[in-house]
């Protein structure tokens, strides 16, 4: 996972990096083991934080549009990853935010379709802009 490989960059930039998924702690633990990642993973089975972060619930074209399919295939090849069984609501999209200690959200990128994800480099750049 790209974010796992970039975790030291977040540390060096002085930021905490946390992943949140829409299932149980057991699923989160399985995800960490399967992906071989050491990042903390929080479990939000009720998707309360997704709603509070303004995450989008996808429509059909957001999941299966030609661009989305192509981008997903490209990511799978690049990451040498195979999509396994989906846990949670398949229409729930994710995203990323950077929060300052005073609670201000200095940067955000919430997904507009299933292929629309911020890269680790974009997120780190947002952190570095904040601490510069």
């Amino acid at each position: 996972m790209q974010l796992h490989r970039a975790r030291s960059d977040f540390d060096e930039a002085g930021a905490t990096l946390v992943l949140i998924g829409q299932a149980t702690p057991r699923h989160a633990a399985q995800f960490r083991r399967r992906q071989g990642i050491q990042l903390p993973v929080l479990a939000d089975e009720d998707r309360l934080s997704y709603k509070a972060a303004g995450a989008k619930v996808a429509g059909i074209t957001d999941l299966f549009g030609p661009k989305v399919i192509a981008k997903g295939a490209l990511t799978g090849v690049r990451e040498k990853a195979i999509q396994t069984r989906t846990i949670g609501d398949a229409a729930q999209l994710g995203g990323a935010i950077v929060v300052e200690p005073d609670g201000n959200i200095s940067w955000s990128h919430m997904s507009n379709d299933a292929g629309d994800n911020a890269s680790p480099e974009e997120i780190i750049a947002a952190v570095r802009d904040l601490v510069a």
Binding site: T16, Q22, P25, V99, P101, G103, S108, I123, V127
Partner: protein
């Protein structure tokens, strides 16, 4: 949020701060504690699959 509506991230994390979620070891984590001392990047996964 109804399906298909554009994402609407808030400008402040006040609505997130009091949410408490278990981590992969079943320890409760209050989200606001993640950024209380230094910036935090929160990444919501689409799914664990």
């Amino acid at each position: 949020m109804p399906a298909g509506r554009k994402p609407r991230p808030p400008r402040r994390a006040d609505g997130l701060a009091e949410i408490v979620l278990p981590d992969h070891e079943c320890h409760d984590v209050r989200l606001g504690d993640l950024w209380s001392e230094r910036p935090a990047a929160l990444v919501w996964l689409r799914h664990y699959g």
